[in-house]
Symmetry: C2
Subunit: 151 residues, 2 copies
């Protein structure tokens, strides 16, 4: 007989998994979705804000803020697409995503928190403030990618 | 000798092309970016709002509004990625994108206008209003895809 704790955990897991299952018809749709979100986010983060932070393109405060808004919205989107059955196929995600869910969630939330700080920094119009927030965010991205992807 | 009109047109073309060239290192990056944006937009439009409009999932006014916001943001993003040199490679875009730029721009703007109406409709919390705006937007998507892609 299952303990109360097990039942609560199973119910919680089902509640967490249900939206993910409902939103994608096939596991490969979820994989393609999360890869699309990540690629788009990477473009706006590295190739737009990062290019300004690293001096590859001229600093444009308005563009930095617009790109930070896009990154902020995208940063909330991929995690629903790591549901059951999406660990196989054309994915660079490591099995640890599913076996170490607490750590995955924690690193994902740390990235989202840094992105919100980057969004706030982008409103200052001060490139040095943006550079600091950019680097902290890049480190948060890297921490999660190092642990959970083969990329 | 070039006419004044030709010079003006060339200057305009350069101004329009410059941001696109500056934002992507390689044509294939631009192609992957626009495909990623389109796939993400399609998921939120067809598989979220569309699923509610067609009764495949229960209507959730808050989720409809959130998805409409995401679609609105994404609808502004792909067009910068159809710059020179991005007509070849792994793309379903037809040559008409580059040979009929005025029509392409017009249909893109019509889609964006319908998306803004969908975003406004999503704020009513009225599924019938959302359904009407959803269908108008879907038609605007289709008009552009029929003319400019092989998909």
């Amino acid at each position: 007989m299952k303990s109360t704790r097990t039942i609560v955990l199973l119910a919680l897991a089902a509640a967490l998994a249900a939206p993910a299952l409902a939103q994608f018809r096939k596991p490969e749709d979820a994989i393609k979705y999360r890869q699309s979100v990540m690629y788009t986010m990477g473009t706006h983060f590295y190739s737009r804000i990062g290019a300004m932070a690293n001096g590859r393109i001229p600093f444009d405060a308005k563009a930095a803020a617009e790109n930070a808004d896009i990154v902020a919205m995208l940063s909330r989107m991929p995690f629903v697409a790591f549901g059951p059955g999406t660990d196989e196929g054309k994915t660079d995600a490591k099995p640890a995503v599913w076996t170490e869910q607490a750590k995955f969630k924690d690193l994902g939330e740390k990235m989202q928190a840094e992105v919100l700080k980057l969004q706030a920094a982008s409103r200052t119009g001060d490139l040095d403030v943006i550079k600091t927030a950019y680097r902290a965010t890049a480190n948060a991205c890297k921490a999660c990618h190092d642990a959970f992807t083969n990329q």
